[in-house]
């Protein structure tokens, strides 16, 4: 099942030129870029593992693309996303985040419904491969 998180996730996967253009846009705005990866597509899994250090003071998207290439090599079968962090006062948060790599076969999310006390139901989502 295709997971949809962050920007552009309802579009077809971005190719490298498109990713470069997006990163270029982020750098023009002076945002710092971080690359993160995970193998758990659960929507509540917000903290992905960081790949390398966040990249400040970059001038050209090629630097990010090199790092992304490394990350893809190290984790070919993981979700990888690019976060653009805006450090200016008033924002101090991630301004853009998009998925740049997906596993060849994405795990499905299974919804489990459990009867508990009375007529209450508990729902749980879990990733199943």
């Amino acid at each position: 099942m295709r997971i949809t998180q962050g920007a552009f996730s309802f579009l077809p996967d971005l190719d490298d030129t498109q990713i470069t253009a997006q990163v270029e846009y982020c750098l023009q705005n002076g945002w710092a870029i971080g690359i993160e990866h995970t193998d758990d597509p659960h929507p509540r899994n917000t903290y992905w593992e960081m790949f390398g250090n966040p990249m400040f003071d970059l001038r050209d998207a090629k630097g990010v693309m090199m790092e992304l290439e490394e990350c893809r090599k190290a984790h070919p079968d993981a979700y990888i996303r690019i976060n653009a962090f805006d450090a200016t006062g008033g924002f101090e948060t991630v301004r853009l985040s998009f998925i740049v790599n997906r596993p060849a076969e994405e795990p499905t999310l299974r919804l489990t419904r459990t009867d508990v006390r009375g007529r209450t139901m508990n729902y749980a989502l879990s990733a199943a491969r």
Binding site: N53, M55, R59, K62
Partner: protein, 308 residues
């Protein structure tokens, strides 16, 4: 800015002269001529390089050439001969010609590239390279990367990463290595990989006494100071004496001397002035401000002890 945007039919004719003006290269070269005193051979080499790149670009637009030429350079010369300044100009030049996308200069030394423990060097070097992407990486005193006396030195690791990136990312960044001529030669002999990847070796000659005098005037002019007649002769004497003493660093020595002269001038004004001063007095450096320098008394004490 991208070079490979020739989807349409290539043009049949190219006016190099017009291209020279419109690309902004002419402007950079004029700047170079105006701002830098002396350095005639360097300017000549840069003009040649610019011509080569301009022709290469024209050939590309006509579809005659595909490969990016090797642009990595080495600047060799004594300290204070303007290597960093020229590197900055070079970055601007390459940017105007479209050989680097952003045209910024990242200036580093061994400390920025080489780590302190195992596994520290590679990320550190990569970090610097990522910052330099799309611009020019200027490695000052590059020979310190290679320490033959210590076989476990991490410099070798940085060298390997550099070589790899210089080869694979030729479109993305230009590396300029700088340092003293003799040590650079030894460095290149020990690392033949660099020699073959660096196409342009540019040598920076020392400045003559006259040129240094001119530089001194320019430096003061930029800060709205001026020399009186006595000060001018004092500077000329200073340059001649300073050159013979150890640790002479061309224009940098002059800049330091002028900084100290300004200090003495301020001190003199502070101690001798009675009543208000005009702009003239505040911006004039006199003979005395310069003659008080230790250079006229035989240099620093530490150096004198060593030589006797």
């Amino acid at each position: 800015m991208s070079l490979d945007t020739t989807e349409t039919t290539p043009p049949q004719k190219i006016d190099l002269r017009a291209e020279f003006e419109s690309s902004g290269v002419a402007e950079v070269l004029r700047d170079l001529d105006r701002e830098l005193v002396g350095l005639a051979p360097v300017k000549q080499r840069i003009r040649e390089t610019a011509a080569l790149l301009l022709v290469d670009r024209a050939r590309r637009t006509m579809g005659l050439a595909q490969e990016t030429p090797t642009l990595h350079m080495s600047f060799s010369g004594n300290p204070g001969t303007g290597k960093t300044t020229v590197a900055l100009k070079m970055a601007g030049l390459l940017h105007r010609l479209g050989y680097v996308r952003k045209g910024h200069l990242v200036s580093v030394t061994r400390d920025d590239l080489v780590g302190q423990y195992i596994g520290h060097t590679a990320p550190k070097t990569r970090e610097v390279l990522k910052k330099a992407m799309g611009g020019v990486l200027f490695i000052d005193e590059a020979y310190y990367l290679y320490r033959p006396d210590n076989e476990r030195d991490y410099g070798q690791e940085a060298i390997e990463i550099l070589l790899q990136v210089m080869e694979n990312n030729r479109d993305d960044l230009v590396v300029i290595m700088a340092g003293y001529a003799d040590r650079m030669d030894r460095f290149f002999t020990a690392n033949p990989g660099f020699r073959s990847r660096i196409a342009h070796h540019i040598e920076f000659p020392d400045y003559t006494d006259g040129e240094l005098g001119e530089i001194a005037e320019n430096m003061l002019d930029a800060q709205n100071y001026r020399l009186d007649a006595g000060g001018r002769t004092a500077i000329a004497d200073y340059i001649a004496l300073r050159r013979a003493q150890p640790h002479f660093a061309n224009a940098r020595s002059i800049r330091n001397a002028l900084d100290r002269a300004r200090l003495r001038q301020a001190n003199r004004l502070f101690e001798t002035s009675r009543g208000p001063l005009n702009a003239e007095a505040l911006s004039t450096i006199t003979e005395d401000d310069i003659r008080q320098s230790r250079v006229f008394r035989g240099g620093l004490d530490v150096d004198r002890e060593k030589t006797t």
